[in-house]
Symmetry: C2
Subunit: 336 residues, 2 copies
């Protein structure tokens, strides 16, 4: 049991790629829970592309992390001290955005009943990651059986699940990923119909080959040239569920939108951004469906766990270099 | 009564701006209606930005006009000869896309009962132009009372009507147009709350001033820098009804999409293309509402009539240089 609280604080806003000196690893006193609050020892920290957005002061979907503040991040932890009758020491909880630190104090948290699934599942397939795939694909993308769905960053935490849900719904699913090994995972483990290695293949030509009937739904995580290739091949009334644009998050200069933007008009297509927080009131739908699919063995997932809070910044970089496969987590401390 | 049929035929696909030699003014024999067909003498020809798209072989919402074919265009005409019991000589009809020519033969046409409105109304406010504004704004843009709506090409045939409908629905409406004279028309005649002259003003700064609560709906006719400025200021869950992208129709090189494309994600916005032909089954809704608004004096409109089919190509150019105000028509021959 630590007596201090290690924290990553934003030291300055990154210019381009995140550099080590952009965040500062500091030590603060262990926080003390007030009336009705609980002290949570953080066990897992979720690393997500959106972390990079939060470090920037661009106009975004929630306020950026202020310089000097503890870096924001989703966490899973264990109650170490409780002043709240609803929680007891040892409870496993999701406090939401517990931050890049050893300890979080909170008055609210979602309790997890330990079941057959590993705790990391609640930080990936059964957590916000899975929910993002679920609502983004089904509610924004609205695929119909027989349609063709393209998923970029298909070996990633969200993409891999989005594609599997599209398969469950009876679609042809084509992934795009950044290595042959990832593509193998995408087709063999996740069951996509095809996967394109964008580092080795001409994406437009490969999409033409693997989407002979065109593209009806795009679950977009990447943007840039990959989105452009997809827009070139969209069908009438196609839908682009805009989940992320990771190709531009580190950009220091304005990034042009897709050159085939005009096809949104020509094909009466719909491009729609979404954020999982808007779907939290409907999270029960996701939990019900995903739990059933998991118990039927219909969904597979991978986690990539990096040990040690001190390595969080280095680990985050993997998301931007394609160094991870599946959901990227930092293990801050041992599971209870 | 002519004994020949003058026709504009596509001679070659334009590179960049349309040049005189891209179309060829030819004379063909006057067509003869077959069984059940009518011979229509064309009176008005509609000139629209989309004409430029049809001349190009880019992937588009309907097949392009083939080189050598009569140029496609919407027409209003009068029946000169009828082999169809549903029509008699003198009937005023809309045959759909009658083409850039003196005569059209058709088996189907929509009859117009002459009323208090001039015939040009059926080629503008009560025709496809008005319907485009109506369904694009209401069905795609879905404005709510109190929201802020921006309309580009606000003095144009579609934009001027879209903005007036938004006013009827209780919105704050800000137009963007290309001259002070057009802006005056937009605010004084069409009743928009403000209008920005994009040739004289910094559009982003002017939008900030005139849209103090941000932008909820964009009725987009232009694209390019104007769309970028709008996307910079969109509110959460904003909607962009993508009606046209005239700023790029003459482009010979790939045109980048909006640099603020990322705001579609950040603001959970929706960008959706639409084409009026998809709404034809619902045209009755438009006719009912628009007829009521017209009889109540709630909608104003302008037509810009160019005399002589021989001037059609020169006239079309006005759409791309901002030379017209309101609906641009060619009067091919006298009204009956």
């Amino acid at each position: 049991m630590r007596n201090s609280n290690r924290q990553w604080r934003l030291k300055r806003r990154p210019a381009g790629d995140i550099k080590q000196g952009d965040l500062h690893f500091a030590e603060a006193p262990k926080p003390v829970p007030g009336p009705n609050e609980i002290l949570i020892r953080n066990v897992y920290l979720s690393l997500d592309p959106t972390n990079r957005i939060w470090m920037s002061d661009m106009d975004q979907y929630m306020p950026p992390v202020e310089v000097g503040d503890v870096m924001r991040g989703g966490t899973l932890g264990v109650v170490e001290q409780s002043n709240n009758p609803g929680f007891k020491v040892g409870d496993i909880v999701l406090p939401g955005l517990g931050g890049w630190q050893d300890y979080t104090v909170s008055a609210f948290a979602q309790k997890i009943e330990k079941g057959p699934l590993p705790l990391t599942a609640y930080m990936s397939v059964l957590g916000m990651t899975g929910a993002t795939a679920y609502f983004g694909l089904l509610d924004v993308g609205k695929p119909k059986a027989g349609e063709t769905v393209v998923v970029s960053a298909a070996a990633g935490a969200v993409g891999s699940i989005a594609g599997q849900i599209a398969k469950i719904k009876g679609c042809r699913v084509v992934g795009i990923a950044g290595s042959d090994a990832k593509c193998k995972l995408v087709t063999k483990d996740y069951g996509f119909d095809a996967c394109i290695n964008y580092k080795r293949e001409d994406v437009l030509q490969a999409l033409k080959k693997h989407c002979p009937k065109g593209i009806d739904v795009d679950f977009e995580n990447v943007g840039g040239e990959i989105l452009d290739a997809v827009l070139t091949l969209i069908n009438m009334n196609a839908r682009v569920a805009l989940c992320g644009l990771i190709s531009s998050y580190n950009a220091d200069e304005p990034v042009p939108g897709p050159y085939m933007f005009r096809n949104i008009l020509m094909k009466r297509a719909r491009v729609e951004g979404f954020i999982i927080i808007d779907y939290l009131p409907r999270i029960g739908e996701f939990i019900a469906d995903m739990s059933a699919w998991l118990s039927q063995g219909k969904i597979k997932w991978h986690v990539d766990v990096v040990d040690g809070l001190e390595h969080a910044v280095t680990a985050l970089d993997k998301l931007f270099t394609g160094g991870n496969t599946g959901k990227l987590l930092v293990r801050i401390g041992p599971e209870p």
